[in-house]
Subunit: 122 residues, 2 copies
DNA sequence: CGAACCTATTAATGACCGCTTATATAAGTC
DNA sequence: GACTTATATAAGCGGTCATTAATAGGTTCG
């Protein structure tokens, strides 16, 4: 499943928003989501699974609970994909800032090819 | 259809990549996509429609042709949604750069609420 | 140990999405 | 005005994904 497909679901986006604020147990996530979206616990668990499989979240068992946390890699890829559009809303000065960020990101990945990291593979 | 749903499809992402490089006629887009993905002209046309409806692209008739161009707004929203995760991969110095960009973006929108622009509405 | 949690998995169902084929509309060309 | 080109729409089908219901695997605690 592609990064954007994972993010295509509002429940999964909301879960990531929650995890962005810090580690949370599966149960805590479930509570909030069930409250907000009115879906069952298994449904939430399956969304968590998709997030895990997609590399958006990591799990760490703690007794009977499972602590979930954000794994930023795929989100960074999405961010990188957006680079090619930044010119549309970040003219001139901002460009300097994002170019800085981009260059740095580029360097961090092992001086790679940059082509189509998140892209649409025919 | 939500922004991320629109971006969930590889064909649509590819179309946006093409349009990012400049205006293109429907036909030109179709050629490339049909070549790369092996789908029909109507299929491409339908994807263009989704991009139009989602506000990702604008059209401008020119004789018999239709010129498509990127409309960055929804992409900017996606970018804004990512803000809450930037801390994960843009520590310290990069933070300055993105914070610059973010502040500027914030200011440009009419000093709004910033909450959940692209978000998952329960 | 056994009962009460906490979380994940499986199987089945329903909805939606993307594709194709067929067709419509509109503009250029002879 | 007929023919071709350019693009869009309509209808129908197949597949995929989210959800639920039922269940299973662990963990804590009395």
């Amino acid at each position: 499943m592609h990064a954007f497909d994972v993010l295509g679901d509002p429940v999964r986006r909301r879960i990531l928003e929650l995890l962005a604020e810090g580690e949370m147990t599966s149960g805590a996530v479930s509570s909030v989501i069930q409250e907000e979206f009115g879906i069952s616990q298994p449904a939430v668990s399956q969304h968590l699974r998709v997030l895990r499989d997609g590399g958006f979240a990591t799990v760490r068992p703690q007794g009977a609970r499972r602590l979930y946390a954000v794994n930023p890699e795929p989100l960074r890829d999405v961010d990188a994909w957006l680079d090619r559009f930044r010119g549309f809303w970040a003219p001139r000065l901002d460009a300097l800032a994002t170019e800085l960020a981009r260059g740095r990101r580029e360097r961090r990945r092992n001086g790679s090819d940059h082509r189509d990291e998140t892209g649409s593979d025919p």
